[in-house]
């Protein structure tokens, strides 16, 4: 089965049911399918063939869904990216997967025009107004016009082992890695999530997480698969506005990462806002402090809280802690989701005994095909049909898994996973900087906040503001360090490696009460 069949099936079973609500836009399943087919026909007319990559750089919206399913129906591969991406990041991704087109809005078009020769696109699909005819002979077509295009979609002979989506994650080296997810991967994971959350066509979820990451993507697929409703609200910076939408639309589900819940608990009316329709809450994307879980359940006692764990490389989800076990198994990410087998293995590849530490290794139909164009890196973590996650954990006597640390030094900030190396490279390119190290420090809101340690070249002067501006020019906002600490030297091992744990140890985070 192909993931666009989720949409076809739901449009057949529930043609008049609302698939997505965003602001004043409400789109039914039959409308969503019809418009997505129009777009697919237009894309094929622009030359899209089976397996071609198309970048989608749009915020969560009905247009995102149309673009997502339009590309799938045309036989293409979706490469969804943050629409706030900077040239540096976009160059790396386009150089890697060589997409034939991009679907974006007016914000990004200026960036494309400034650097035309660097992009391989045959066409640009623009949502919104444009004052230009094209970027160096790359034709620009109107997304809205394409949605009205009434051609027929050529049948494309596809298999469930075709790649449906490439999601870029920050590799530890700072180079983005394209996680190739096959139709069968996404389908298996969606089925499993639907199963353990008991999702049905009666469910509607408030989506504040971006669709371009795997957590948001799984919200999209599971609800479209079941004929449920996606309620999109991109105004989470004003959490009370989102709570009002949840009440108004009677949403049954809410999904967040730890920072989402920290904001809700610290800066919203959650504790006094009745959400009688809310049936469940899911949390993933890093450890959630126990006190925070308690506070959430105190605020919404009738909702079930699911703690989950996963990786983009696993299409999203690997394990969940059943709500009834929340207090009994505090701190655990639970056990494998249906259809997945999880092992915790020591260095000899043997199952660890309770209390011992090992690496989480996963098996299941949801495990990715590999990283796009990176055979060696893929082979390092995909061995004998298993995904070696890099996450270190222990198990208890009943088989519940407790994550202890990650092998790599990736920073988890908000909903983002960030490679320190990428930020360090940008800082090091500043002419006055001699040495730089970036670490994630504990932060009550973000989970981890980015902090940079910098050694300047002899005789050079540089302010924190100057370095922030430098990073702002070269990195998306969420990758800009919260602060820069200037030092005369950085602590190092005998082999010259920077001792990041020492930098972290010498820093005291500001406490925020929850």
């Amino acid at each position: 089965m192909l993931i666009d069949n989720f949409l076809k099936n739901s449009a057949s079973k529930y043609p008049d049911k609302t698939a997505i609500i965003h602001g004043n836009t409400r789109m039914t399943y039959s409308e969503l399918l019809a418009i997505s087919l129009n777009l697919a026909a237009a894309l094929q007319g622009y030359g899209l063939r089976r397996g071609d990559r198309i970048i989608i750089a749009l915020n969560n919206s009905a247009e995102y869904l149309i673009a997502y399913f339009g590309v799938q129906l045309a036989g293409g591969i979706v490469v969804a990216v943050n629409p706030d991406i900077k040239p540096r990041g976009l160059h790396k991704i386009t150089a890697d997967c060589k997409p034939s087109g991009i679907i974006t809005n007016t914000g990004l078009i200026k960036l494309l025009e400034a650097d035309k020769e660097k992009y391989p696109f045959s066409f640009i699909l623009l949502h919104g107004e444009s004052k230009t005819d094209g970027a160096d002979n790359i034709p620009i077509y109107s997304f809205n016009e394409c949605c009205k295009h009434e051609g027929s979609v050529d049948t494309v002979d596809r298999a469930e082992t075709d790649i449906a989506s490439i999601i870029y994650t920050s590799g530890t080296t700072g180079e983005p890695k394209g996680v190739m997810l096959m139709h069968k991967n996404l389908m298996a994971n969606a089925h499993s999530i639907v199963n353990y959350l008991s999702l049905s066509e009666k469910d509607s979820v408030m989506v504040v997480l971006p669709f371009y990451y795997s957590y948001g993507n799984s919200l999209l697929l599971t609800h479209i698969m079941q004929g449920g409703t996606l309620v999109v609200d991109n105004r989470f910076m004003y959490p009370n506005v989102v709570l009002e939408s949840m009440v108004r639309e009677k949403v049954t589900g809410f999904a967040g990462v730890p920072s989402t819940f920290a904001i809700l608990l610290n800066r919203s009316n959650l504790k006094s806002c009745p959400l009688p329709s809310l049936r469940y809450i899911t949390q993933a994307g890093g450890p959630m402090p126990h006190v925070m879980a308690n506070e959430i359940l105190k605020a919404v006692p009738h909702a079930k809280l699911y703690i989950m764990y996963g990786q983009t490389e696993a299409s999203a989800r690997l394990s969940y802690l059943p709500p009834d076990d929340l207090y009994r198994k505090h701190g655990s990410v639970g056990k494998a989701i249906p259809g997945v087998t999880l092992h915790v293995l020591n260095e000899k590849n043997e199952q660890v005994k309770p209390g011992e530490t090992g690496e989480i290794v996963a098996e299941g139909k949801n495990i990715m095909a590999g990283y796009w164009g990176k055979t060696e890196e893929s082979a390092k973590i995909l061995r004998n049909g298993r995904l070696y996650t890099g996450d270190m954990a222990t198990v208890d006597e009943e088989g519940y898994i407790y994550i202890l640390s990650r092998k790599s030094d990736m920073i988890k900030s908000g909903a983002h996973r960030i490679a320190p190396r990428e930020i360090e490279e940008v800082i090091l390119e500043h002419p006055n900087v001699f040495e730089a190290a970036v670490v994630g420090m504990e932060d009550a809101i973000l989970g981890e906040a980015i902090h940079a340690y910098v050694v300047l070249k002899d005789g050079c002067i540089c302010t924190e503001k100057e370095l922030m501006r430098w990073c702002h020019e070269n990195l998306p906002t969420y990758k800009i360090p919260k602060s820069f600490h200037f030092a005369e030297s950085l602590p190092k091992t005998e082999s010259g490696k920077i001792k990041k744990h020492e930098l972290k140890k010498n820093y005291s985070p500001i406490e925020v009460s929850i």
Partner: protein, 82 residues
């Protein structure tokens, strides 16, 4: 005066001193100037600089989502009318 202080804070902390112009009525949200954690920084700035307390229910776009909305909100709070 308040508008200037607000503008200076937004420019220095979210636009990193860029010359990019922000009109007084430009929405921070629609223009991608501030994200969800940025709003918390704005609230801290308002509370610390103007010695007022921003209640949770006051964290709405009408009070915070542009330079003029923010400045007007601060003035209303200082006058005790909010």
């Amino acid at each position: 005066m308040i508008e200037e202080q607000v503008r200076h804070f937004i420019t220095e902390n979210f636009l990193f001193g860029e010359e990019k112009k922000v009109a007084d009525t430009d929405s921070f949200l629609e223009n991608g100037i501030i994200d969800s954690t940025g709003v918390l920084e704005v609230v801290s700035f308002v509370e610390d600089t103007f010695n007022i307390k921003v209640k949770d229910e006051e964290m709405i776009p009408e009070n915070l989502d542009s330079i003029s909305n923010l400045a007007n909100f601060i003035k209303r709070k200082q006058n005790g009318s909010n």
